[in-house]
Amino acid sequence: MTATAVPEAETGPDAFADALLAARLCAVDPAGLGGMILRGGGDMRDPVLDMLRACMPADAPERRLPGHIDEDRLLGGIDLTATLARGGVVMRRGLLAEADGGRVVIPMAERLPDHIVAHLAATLDSGTVRAARDGVMLEAPARLLLVAFDDGVEAEERVSDTLAERLAFHIRLDALSNDRRHRLDGDPISPPLLRLQDIEPPGDDVLTALVATAGMLGIESARAPIFALRAARASAVLAGRRTIGEADVMAAARLVLGPRATRLPAPPQADAPDETPDPPPSSGDAPPDSDGDDQSAPMPMEDVVLEAVMAHLPPDVLARIADGRSRQRAVNRARGAGERRKSAARGRPVGARAGVPGNGLRLSLIDTLRAAAPWQKLRGGQIGRVQVRRDDLRIRRFETRAEAVTIFAVDASGSSAVARLAEAKGAVERLLADAYVKRAQVALVAFRGTGADVLLPPTRSLTRARRSLGDLPGGGGTPLAAGLHAAHDVAQAARARGRSPFIVVLTDGRANVARDGAMVQAVAQADAETAARIIGASAIPSAFVDISPRPRREGAELAAMMGARYLPLPRGDAAAMHAAVVAVQKP
């Protein structure tokens, strides 16, 4: 089975049918399956939602969850107006509690801020919504079915892994042609005749097939086979079978395991794959009947299932696996406003000040009451009725230290000889270790050949940083301009999130590739100077480490244009470079 075996025209309608099937399965076992992610698809998502509505009880609530929702509304909290009017705490239910037993639809789920994702994950795990904050302690049932609309375009723009892990189905509708109108057939959906409890326990062949398939596709999480088994059981319910059959297992594997694949299984025997370091886990531990008499016995179920999954792997999953990008993590691109608000409303509380809550500012009820207390007699209040005036309102203040982001722009061109590149890597690694201690973030931009890549968006994870640095290849021309522009963009983005960026450029300063990729020295140098001036004009603090064996004028000039500290380190080893950069970064 190869990547080209699935023509797009064929995947299209299938994906839509899969989405409808997933919806019906979800309706059978909403608590067990968690829900689904529908990527792309536009209007085609509506019939899928309609299917869910038709299959779930008519009184099941449905709520839409906008990404900018605040925690009060999501989890529930104190109803301020009612509380003050009544003189006793009045609680308001949150959106998740309201949706108990029903659906939560999340448009633009790929943009959901991390803390909302974390709350959703916790709610899915426990079936209850819990909060303990701002004088509120609450716990309410919230058995939810999540339908996440993923409108991401780029591969990294997708629903966060934390959430995706907990939703059984990930269906791609974006390969479908939009001109076809997909709608439900007129036939009313008849409710299934069986219930989940009616299905017999799965046989060992079913369990083996699901676990082995997951193993062969490189799926680590133990949740995936559990979801697959639940989906298979739901499928048996729909089909009116009391025993989970091969068709159920195949559908479950296709819908649950296929989209989670991180590698392609090794071909049965014959040619071994050239770059799979670890053997497929199935080889040694497969039950004896699956090896040995391959020829005579009927195919074991896991092989049939695997084949079915492979035939339906979405093309992009195949491409992702082929690129070795499967380990790449979703990057939340859409922070912008959300993140800034977060920094205004979270962090270490440092008391309260007078002000009106709302707009991301949180009321500090206790301070408010304390402010109101001395005036109660004058205002004619009686026990049980506190009179609070607008002047009494206090809002919380938070202290968030502006987080530092150090952006390394590393020249990985051929002219920065291999040894220098190793030193630069060494220095970056040392700085990474520092950053990790201080909880600062680091980002890594590399430029070589004809352009620059952001190898590592700002992160605090040493594991990721080390991995991407280790993969940094060298060679090719020096597109310094592209590198500086990329670093500038990362710095500006960091600034927009309320962080303080610091750029460290490590290069020999000899640009020879222009912004448009042309190998014209003069143009390249002029472009680099322009890029340097842009950084200077943005007043982003920076350091310019000249790593050429004999530093020349160009380096110092570029540094001056950037407004950067110039550090010629002709014979600097990693330690010297590290010390220099640390010294410069001190205010």
Partner: protein, 336 residues
């Protein structure tokens, strides 16, 4: 109440189970940090252990889980009622985004508003007293809350000085944190304060993975009968913990073990004294669990990765994992 998955029915994950058992025997070990990918059963194991432990005797009516006989230390003895009561071992799952007032406790709003009284409303720390406090995704928690939790966990007492209130109450609990290193690392200062750390992975063995699926499914279909079928194994584990607790004060640590612990810490470059202390305590707890009256090098060897792994100075240039470094050092120090 939702039934929890039996502790003994957890497939594999021996290291995590061992760390939790050690913490159950000696709560002073100072918390367990569990690192692992998603879907590795981190929270299942912690919940399972709490569900396994026998109910604890408490003073009736007490909101601070006071054990009978310690009435004087309670900040609110007026709520006590005569008679004895028992409660299940508390398991507090710290909700995400928990704020300081709810963690340490704060002014009781209802009473302040309704009756103009100044009263303390105990927080999650009081609820977790004598039980477990579980923090999923520690890296998502505000730093100052983590600091606060670690402080209280170490001292066993929660001292509240805020909003005109002055309250102190017992808060002894086993702190269990979980985190995924891919989500961002914890500060080393913070990590150091966890007693033990374990790394969990999904078992790679096919038979084990099938067994996991089988047991999860059986539990889902009929929790009662599944729990029933594991009752014997659970009782055995429980007995082991009980015996370990009884034995712990009597277990002796020979001088050569102490010296071995110090040499090991020096050899692997574990900073600070916490490493040695935890190493000693964990070996002792393991000996007690095993029913041995004296700590042997094999005990030390077994717990060393748990006690030291997270305290090694990180050398980013060295790809060798912490566990491998400890193993190497141990192989040199302890002849197998």
């Amino acid at each position: 109440m939702k039934m929890s998955f039996p502790f003994s029915a957890i497939v594999g994950q021996d290291e995590m189970k061992l760390a939790l058992l050690i913490a159950a025997v000696d709560a002073r070990i100072g918390g367990v940090m569990v690192f692992g990918d998603r879907g590795t059963g981190k929270s299942t194991a912690v919940r399972a252990l709490a569900g396994l432990l026998p109910p604890i005797p408490v003073v009736a009516g007490c909101r601070y889980n006071c054990p009978p006989g310690s009435e004087n230390a309670c900040p609110a003895p007026e709520a006590h009622r005569p008679g004895k009561a028992v409660m299940p071992v508390p398991f507090v799952d710290l909700p995400l985004g928990a704020t300081e007032d709810r963690v340490v406790g704060a002014l009781d709003l209802e009473r302040a508003l309704g009756h103009g009284e100044k009263a303390f409303e105990p927080g999650l720390l009081a609820r977790a007293h004598r039980g477990f406090l579980y923090i999923d995704e520690v890296n998502l928690l505000e730093d100052h809350i983590v600091d606060l939790l670690l402080d209280v966990a170490a001292s066993g007492e929660n001292v509240v000085e805020r909003e005109g209130l002055s309250v102190r109450h017992g808060a002894r609990f086993v702190l269990v944190g979980s985190g995924n290193p891919e989500e961002g690392e914890l500060r080393p200062q913070l990590l150091d304060r966890f007693g033990l750390s374990v790394e969990v992975r999904t078992p790679q063995d096919l038979a084990q993975r099938i067994e996991i699926l089988k047991r999860c499914d059986a539990f889902e279909r009929g929790p009662e009968s599944f729990v029933e079928s594991w009752r014997k194994a659970e009782r055995k584990t429980l007995k082991k913990i009980g015996r370990g607790k009884d034995m712990l004060p009597a277990v002796t640590v020979p001088d050569e073990i102490l010296s071995l612990a110090s040499r090991l810490c020096i050899a692997v470059g574990a900073d600070g004294l916490r490493g040695e202390l935890t190493l000693m305590r964990a070996s002792r707890a393991l000996a007690a669990l095993d029913g041995d009256a004296t700590v042997a090098p094999s005990h030390l060897r077994h717990v060393a990765p748990l006690a030291l792994r997270h305290r090694l100075r990180r050398n980013v240039l060295d790809e060798t994992g912490s566990t491998a470094r400890i193993d190497r050092a141990m192989a040199e120090l302890i002849p197998a």
